[in-house]
Symmetry: C2
Subunit: 350 residues, 2 copies
């Protein structure tokens, strides 16, 4: 508390990111990082970028990176916005697109940063309950609204919404910007980017943190109609001219270009996820169907907080949210095979 | 323009950064980058950080970097805030500390991002004219205000305000947050960080882009009372948990630790500046006394825009601002000796 703070600051409740433990030797299944390293092509690109050039500002418009992203999705560069991780991209999108007369809508259980952005920008919001199977029902998003934000697959549930449902949602809300946050889409879903030609109100947000194993580099992007992108650029250009440093931009370009490595690693993660799902179900866990690189699970007879502590005592970290409706769930990142095996072995000690 | 934009977006006038030309072989004296490469210790640290670890999120609190900065200034880590370049740090500081009942004050001629931040966060401001010698008179900052922002040395003038004057300003405005933006302080001034123990309303902001030759890495920081820092952390934690990637943080730590290289390069820049100042004065230019890594100059008989174009035709880029009071000035970054020599040779062709 300080008299020097702007009024707003007193009312903020910042987001709490998952723990980044200082200890090594842990089985870290708590923040949905990819268990495989970034593509070797990323390392080569970073290596080339090290040098005297770091004394110079990066390209404020990240043109090479935008071109790579546009190329990957078959879009034009003016349909692409880039930022310092998808969290920054989301922040700019909330400020640029979601402050209107009516409250915005998002699920009651979803990425917990959304209400935080609303607090930061004074955006009214209303949450829409997931159904009993923890699924989003798009027909529940029919109220007058200033925008809609859905994570797909949703976090922390991992449940996928089919493209057909998103198409229906977009068509039913032509006056509202609709943000589809696809941080986890590459682990089993189909991107809504394919709907961009039909829907000028659609903004798709993705990240290189998960499926490209680059959480440590901080690169995210948005795809949308050039007018939506221009709105984001106006906010970004009023905030920070150069959010992507030279190394991050160079590494991101290489990651997007190495499609083969991307396909290999994401399919390995999906295969391990199915193994882990089955192993957990065999041990009595209820597992929400996941199209992400994590599983959202509960055990009918075990308290989730105690379970998380039991695993922690065995150097395995998973994420537990003390939040309504989900306090009996654990979110478990899909690790390498050996890490998932270690998790199951620990559970077998129960 | 788009109906999907928040109202605010229609009213924004984004900052226009200096050109980052795609051509090579230019004498680039337009964006105040350091002419010398980063410390070799930075390259070694970056080299060590390349690897599989990039799949993991960085420390959201950048503790190692905060400790290095605190160590450099003899402060505690909770007096340090870090961000993605000092532009991001400034943005958070404007939002966190400068929205109060009265308008904030800054000079009519200063870093042109300040009014842009005010636009982004709906902050009222009033500009206070520099005197005829382009100097800040702190006694002009006595009106009731919601905060004061001064760049020291000022940009684009390069003029330094003495610490004694800043001390006076702080004492005269005990109810206002006062931000001293020291992007260029290492080229001839003394940091106001030494006043922090006396003034809980002081926030000092610095960057590694200039005196540490790391514009390409995007690292800035703020120093202040723990309560001011907490205000910034609350905003940052509501915006983006991880603005500093693993490479940027590692490089920054190494840059701060290599004090010898820092001393050498900043003194070389200062020596070249004095040579360049004299050479320009001998050719009839009026040069504002500079404590920065650039000179702000005009020629009584030459139009500044034409002069900039003349230099550009000879592959030398300097910065010209089409703004009231300064449209007849050029801002010239201090380059390496040979670059400054090339500039003077070109001028001699006039």
């Amino acid at each position: 508390m300080s008299k020097y703070w702007s009024d707003l600051v007193h009312r903020l409740t910042p987001y709490v990111p998952g723990e980044q433990p200082k200890l090594s030797g842990l089985v870290k299944l708590n923040t949905n990082e990819n268990p495989y390293p970034p593509s070797p092509a990323v390392m080569e690109a970073l290596q080339r970028e090290l040098g005297d050039g770091l004394r110079l500002y990066p390209d404020p418009n990240s043109e090479r990176l935008k071109a790579s992203i546009a190329d990957f999705f078959g879009l034009a560069p003016d349909q692409v916005f880039v930022g310092n991780g998808s969290d920054e991209v989301l922040a700019h999108a909330f400020q640029a697109l979601l402050k209107h007369e009516h409250p915005i809508l998002f699920p009651d259980i979803t990425y917990s940063f959304y209400p935080v952005y609303c607090g930061l920008y004074g955006i009214d919001y209303r949450t829409v309950p997931l159904d009993e199977e923890m699924a989003i029902r798009v027909d529940d998003y029919r109220a007058p609204n200033g925008g809609i934000v859905l994570a797909n697959p949703n976090a922390p549930t991992g449940r996928l919404l089919e493209l057909e449902a998103i198409d229906r949602l977009l068509a039913a809300n032509p006056e509202s910007p609709v943000i589809i946050d696809e941080a986890y889409i590459d682990f089993g879903g189909e991107s809504a980017a394919g709907l961009l030609a039909k829907h000028p109100n659609l903004l798709v947000i993705q990240t290189l943190s998960k499926s490209r194993s680059l959480a440590g580099l901080r690169v995210g992007y948005a795809l949308g109609h050039p007018q939506l992108i221009e709105g984001l650029e106006r906010v970004k250009g009023s905030f920070n001219s150069y959010p992507l440093d030279r190394l991050a931009a160079a590494g991101a370009v290489a990651a997007l270009q190495d499609r083969e490595y991307f396909e290999q690693t994401r399919h390995r993660v999906m295969a391990t996820r199915e193994w882990l799902r089955e192993a957990l179900q065999q041990r009595g866990f209820l597992v929400i169907p996941s199209s992400a690189n994590f599983l959202f699970v509960r055990h009918p007879q075990r308290d989730a907080a105690q379970l998380a502590q039991f695993l922690r005592d065995r150097h395995i970290i998973v994420r537990h949210f003390r939040l309504p409706r989900i306090e009996q769930y654990l979110r478990i990142t899909v690790g390498q095979d050996a890490e998932c095996r270690a998790l199951i072995d620990a559970i077998d000690q129960l």
